[in-house]
Amino acid sequence: MGAGSPEPERVPTAEAGALASTSPRRYNPAVSDEPRYALGFMFGPGKPDMVSFTPHAQRLGIQVVETGPCFAVVRLPYRTELIGDPGRKVIFGGAITTLLDHASGLAIACSLEELRAIATIDLRVDYLRAAEPGLDLTGRIDCYRVTRNVAFVRGTAWDRRPDDPFASCMGSFMLGANPAGSPFTRLIPGDGTEQS
């Protein structure tokens, strides 16, 4: 911008502020300023046993790469069994849905102060391009809002670089939808497995 041309006046609005913020909105109940996430003790790099209680995640070969406050990063290693288009050797879109659905559940569990059952209400996946054959697929989901009954997520999946995603997704999830409780309680040492 030249020195002579006046800069357009920027009026800060709440909306602009919200859009500028890249970090997901945290669960922040009125009772405490700092959320104490139920799974906070295990935030960081993924551990191999974190998918062991989800038979299908285990069967697909999903790995947890990282978890943190309100987010999860998971990986689906490339396998020829998962090909959906034999001509192009591209992994079937549905396997990416599973990856992102699974990451969503984990991201929501990482957003809660008290673990509750999580059930998908809806999930929409946009396929931006074909994933490159032979490459592992990584997905990151951020849980950007948790209300009393519903959690909202969004995320992307990529093969080479996070800034070049091949899929994006949005979803909403019901909290406490069933009395069986959260399978994630198994992650808490000395807690949970006999809960219900």
């Binding site: 989800t54 079937f92 549905g94 599973t98 809806d122 996946v125 396929y127 219900s196």
Partner: protein, 127 residues
Amino acid sequence: MKAVLDAIPYARFLGVDTEQVDGVWHCVLPFQDGLVGNPRLPAIHGGVLGAFLELTALLRLVDQGGTERVPKPITFSIDYLRSAGPVTTRARADIFKLGRRIANVHVVAWQEDPARPVASGNGKFLL
């Protein structure tokens, strides 16, 4: 249709089959332990249901079009209506709009009772 299914490795991975009932064509997903997402209920993994719906939509298009090229998904959206228990799931797809380049397909999945769907899906595919 069987030949198309056999050619898709992921369909074999899930164990998907097809059947015809009164001339209407269904996809069938027999239950197996490896499909479970929440063992406490137990319930089939939401991703599996989504993938099954997407596969049903895709097969319907391949069946309709008789094309060699596999349609590419653009967007797939899934509504989860009920928890899917450890039994066989079936799905039926209807092509809502078949354009020159884009097809819009609706899919519905149920378990014991077709009047009580467990999930429905809507997909847009590039032909």
